[in-house]
């Protein structure tokens, strides 16, 4: 019969309408924009409205979500900071749109290079958020951020991030990516232990050699 296809289609629309109310009812009494509720409503069990009322509701981003990179520093108990970056320049080399600019620092007295950057710039208008810098950094010094609300009225100054703007403590990274942070710290600890063992072995060897030398003479 002519028109049955349209009627069936309208049935689908009505089902969507009813589903959205049923879904709303099942979440009655809960705050509309909590992460827990959004996780269920946006997951495979969600049957209701899928759109998110953005500035009020924000979808929780997954751990691996990548936006503009930032630099990590370790904060010590006395308040001093050490950059993890050694200004090796791999991030600047691997960056596809070439948006990273690093200046190495050198000792003012001897003029020899020190493994930390004096200046570090990222042009976030050029950055394409590919995540290569974080992926290939050998020191876990540069990571991708989760902060995606970076709009500003001025792009000449505000969109070129310098080192002050990029620097963030390791604790911040641990809070946004707990799993990755844990596995990386474990790998680092293992590496350190290996290094220490090697060092100890070398020292032991040296001591034995010295003893041998002493006994010979």
């Amino acid at each position: 019969m002519y028109g049955t296809g349209i009627l069936r289609g309208m049935g689908v629309t009505i089902k969507h309408l009813i589903d959205s109310f049923v879904d709303d009812l099942s979440f009655l009494g809960q705050p509309y924009y909590s992460d827990d509720a959004l996780n269920v409503r946006q997951g495979t069990k969600g049957r209701g409205v899928f759109t998110v009322q953005y500035p009020e509701e924000k979808l929780p981003v997954p751990e691996r979500f990548r936006f503009i990179p930032f630099l990590l520093y370790d904060e010590h108990e006395d308040g001093s900071r050490t950059d993890r970056c050694t200004s090796c320049g791999i991030c600047a080399k691997v960056c596809p749109p070439q948006c990273i600019w690093i200046e190495r620092s050198s000792d003012p007295d001897t003029g020899r290079p020190i493994p930390e950057p004096t200046r570090f710039f990222i042009d976030i208008d050029i950055c394409m958020n590919c995540g290569y810098c974080a992926e290939y950094c050998p020191f876990d010094a540069i990571k991708m951020d989760h902060d995606y609300e970076l709009a500003s009225y001025d792009r000449t100054e505000a969109h070129i991030f310098d080192k002050d703007r990029l620097d963030k403590p390791v604790e911040y990274y641990a809070s946004i990516c707990p799993t990755d942070y844990a596995s990386e710290e474990q790998a680092r600890a293992e590496e350190e232990a290996k290094k220490a063992a090697r060092k100890a072995a070398a020292a032991e060897k040296k001591r034995i050699a010295a003893e041998k030398k002493a006994s010979l003479s």
Partner: protein, 434 residues
């Protein structure tokens, strides 16, 4: 997109700079001797307009004048910056010429400047609705040159991602086709509801919803995450491919396939006979809707497709409606593949061969890697001279080649049908213009 275009334009300016000292990539642009870049002006449209067939069919009784209309480049129905020069007799199309190039971003030249690995995120931006498949094609091309084996689990992950991409892409294609038919937004939003869950998987696994940058030469970048939206990821994907996606496809089928308005607008419109489809070397759903059972996953199986069980969907009429039905069928097959992948994927295992390197060594030689992208055959031609960057890099973009047949299909139809026919080809301008 805007910062991306700006950024690429900067690079273009940088490359075109005639002073090699000012160009940070060195002197990497050369022109033929007789070509003068400073005095070059692009051709105007006079010859294009003159070449159109303006002979009307009903000029016998009424004195009518044929009319040339430019649809685009800023027309809402063209899916981007694309221009159709249409010669009209009344409301009937006598000739149609597609004009491309408004979104040209020097993709291939940038690819020759980039190192092999650096080019991977740029391939995301070709067909930005199916970036996972784009990655797959490019890594296949370079892996052929490098001769690396991909671990078993990585192969399964690749196929899973590529097939989920196909579903999400066809969802968009159908949603937009209905937009072009005049059913604004409701079908489109119902179609992309399930796509949202697929993008959640991409975001949690690769880090980005659309610009995934997930594949590497010799595997994939990351394994599946442990949890996704507070649920075990494997359960999430299992729920999705076993229940949610089949239900969504069935619903779309129920919603649209039998709809009388859709049928009367689509059946018999934009017919493309099989011989013409082959002559224009079209690919993908466009070719299969014309009755040619050609699918690269069967014709030249890559990755693990030779082990998987799926059908190549074809229809025989080659009109807009058949293309729509082929897309629905293909989504079903893709979901079937995803179900098999989730059943057979090794629980544990390597996802990458060798040590991750930021500057891969690619031996001398040339290779052509091709995949069955949602839109057709996507091919990457890479020539390596043993340096860090490709000597020549070319993309065979399915949208671009499918678009050449648009004029043929539109002749004799009305203007409103041209919009629908364009929607049924399913183009993405990022890939057409590169």
């Amino acid at each position: 997109m805007i910062p991306l275009i700006g950024q690429i334009w900067l690079i273009v300016l940088c490359c075109l700079d005639s002073n090699p000292e000012e160009n940070r990539f060195g002197k990497n642009v050369s022109y033929p001797d007789e070509f003068d870049i400073d005095n070059w002006a692009p051709e105007d449209d006079t010859s294009l307009y003159a070449g159109l067939n303006k002979s009307g069919s009903n000029g016998k009784k009424l004195k009518t004048d044929s009319l040339v209309v430019n649809m685009g480049p800023q027309h809402p129905s063209t899916h981007g910056v694309f221009r159709m020069v249409v010669a009209l007799d009344g409301e009937t199309i006598t000739d149609l010429q597609p004009v491309m190039g408004y979104l040209h971003r020097n993709h291939e030249k940038i690819g020759e400047r980039n190192t092999f690995l650096q080019n991977m995120p740029y391939t995301d931006r070709l067909d930005y609705l199916s970036s996972m498949s784009n990655n797959l094609g490019y890594s296949l091309a370079v892996e052929k040159l490098m001769g690396v084996e991909v671990p078993e689990r990585a192969e399964y992950l690749r196929v899973l991602m590529a097939e989920l991409t196909r579903v999400s892409n066809h969802m968009w294609a159908i949603g937009f086709l209905l937009n072009d038919l005049g059913a604004f937004q409701t079908p489109a939003l119902y179609a992309i509801r399930a796509r949202e869950l697929i993008l959640d998987i991409f975001e949690a696994t690769a880090g980005s919803r659309m610009m995934c940058n997930y594949m590497r030469f010799g595997g994939v970048a990351r394994d599946l995450p442990d949890t996704l939206r507070d649920e075990n990821t494997v359960d999430f994907i299992g729920d999705l491919v076993n229940e949610r996606l089949p239900a969504a496809i069935d619903e779309l089928d129920r919603f649209l396939t039998g709809n009388e308005i859709v049928r009367s607008r689509c059946i018999g419109v934009g017919v493309l006979p099989a011989d013409k489809a082959i002559a224009y070397s079209t690919a993908g759903p466009l070719l299969r809707a014309s009755g040619v059972p050609y699918d690269l996953r069967r014709a030249e199986p890559y990755s693990i497709y030779d082990r998987l069980d799926f059908e190549v969907c074809t229809r025989s009429n080659g009109d807009v409606y058949d293309r729509y039905v082929v897309r629905i069928d293909e989504m079903r097959e893709s979901v079937k593949i995803c179900q098999q992948v989730m059943r057979e994927i090794p629980e544990e295992g390597e996802i990458f061969t060798g040590k991750p390197q930021y500057n891969v060594r690619v031996p001398k030689g040339e290779s052509y890697g091709r995949v069955e992208n949602p839109k057709g055959e996507l091919g990457y031609y890479v020539v390596s001279k043993g340096k860090t960057n490709p000597y020549r890099y070319h993309v065979r973009a399915p949208s671009f080649i499918n678009l050449t047949v648009l004029g043929e299909m539109c002749k004799g139809h009305k203007v409103a049908d041209a919009v629908v026919i364009l929607g049924s080809i399913d183009i993405v301008l990022g890939e057409v213009d590169r």
